[in-house]
Symmetry: C2
Subunit: 265 residues, 2 copies
Amino acid sequence: MRSSALGCHSRLVKTSDELPLHQRLGAEFQRRIESGEWPEGLPVPSESQLCAEFGTSRGPVRQALAMLRHEGSLVGGRGKPPVARRTAPSQPFGTFLSFTQWARTIGREPGQRTIEVARRRASPEAAARLGLAEGAPVVELVRLRLLDDVPAMLERSTFVHEVGRILFDFDPDRGSVYEELLRREVDLHRARHTIDAVAAEPPDAELLRVAVGAPLLRVRRLTTSSLGVPLEDADDRYLPAMATFTIENTIEGRTVIGRYRTEED
Amino acid sequence: MRSSALGCHSRLVKTSDELPLHQRLGAEFQRRIESGEWPEGLPVPSESQLCAEFGTSRGPVRQALAMLRHEGSLVGGRGKPPVARRTAPSQPFGTFLSFTQWARTIGREPGQRTIEVARRRASPEAAARLGLAEGAPVVELVRLRLLDDVPAMLERSTFVHEVGRILFDFDPDRGSVYEELLRREVDLHRARHTIDAVAAEPPDAELLRVAVGAPLLRVRRLTTSSLGVPLEDADDRYLPAMATFTIENTIEGRTVIGRYRTEED
DNA sequence: CGTCAAGACATGTATGTACAAGTTACCGTC
DNA sequence: GACGGTAACTTGTACATACATGTCTTGACG
């Protein structure tokens, strides 16, 4: 059914307005793996079978398979057909940056209580990290993040003024700050996250409802534009019982990162 | 100079004992980018020039370029030659897995004190994670890891017996366990790291020389073979003052992970 | 009945060709 | 001098072919 829309004699029709063949093949193969049409753990059809099915040469088929192999959806090969493997989809920047999007992907309802949004002069530390002069104007946003109305994370963000000013036209309790910033075409391009552990200090402890000194998972984030100009410096403190981070990597070098609800294995 | 060793008429000599051509080309290209021979920001030679230089067809050259492009060392293209981009070297599996290698890359001397290496029956939790029957034989390895002779991390590893038995022929205080396992052709292929924070318990606290209850950065690691068979289940607890993890990602989706010495920014 | 060798078949590697599509530089025209 | 078109060059895509190499099955032989 579906295949007929794909492989039929593309040489006879004009293909200029469509995606390249190997990309269409790759998308179709991925769909088959995700849908279970090619069951996990079983070998997929051989290259020649795929060539015959879609009426193409080996080139595009191999390009598509290589793409999936690189993403980890296919493993093995050399002598025997590669084996399908369902993998968690990775949307690094989107879900890793946005608490809101992440919460939705794990089936929880995100919530937030804005503690403070203020325009003030940069502290020496924030100024250093953002590359600003000490005392330059910045916008600070402190929010308590909730999962199903339970406190999960305390977020302290410092935006450079040019970006932060947008927040005054926006209700941070309403929707995702990142979605709003991207919609306003702020050039959020690259983020560097540094993960460590800290003890809960009195204000954190009260908001997150834990004892002072309890271990918290801290993520410091420096978000920069595509030209490397710092735009945001953040300090997020997670309750380890509510969220963990995962990194999955293989010996070939593929890497998938993610943030997960704590207990569910 | 160097190129002559690479490209000269490999058709005339037996190539069976050497790496495939496109891999050698990829390594050579990467070397040129890292060494600055192909300066950052400038277009690299065109494909036809590279074909001429190494005496090959376009196929291997394009395969090598695609590899570098996927790693982020090359950007752009279509109509104009791609542009070199120096990126932080990412050797995810190697340095992320091996404390020894990581320590060396940050210029510290790794050390270790083996607390225990024992063959015993799997605990219910370890058995569940390793997919073994409860009580199946496993090998447990507990090591205190040092950086410049200062305690930095406490590592508790549980290996399935088939892999762990190798450790009895090997002195864990001598060299890298992972290097040894890879040398013995153990199929360590994929690792899933889960990061959270825990409070130091009495035995941890004593070995790491911190107060009971101090926050520790915990990394639980499940290492599996290429077929998805669990081989190792580990629980590493870092002093947050000695190490942090970083994740760098861009909006396009490339991701680089790393482990860093704490304060040095 | 077990073992090993041959062959069929799979993927990996490499070459050569052809054309499409984007980029750049140049040159003639207005 | 500014503009526009063309030509040359680049990479992207696709096909056909050939051979190397790894895997599995089959069948003959001991």
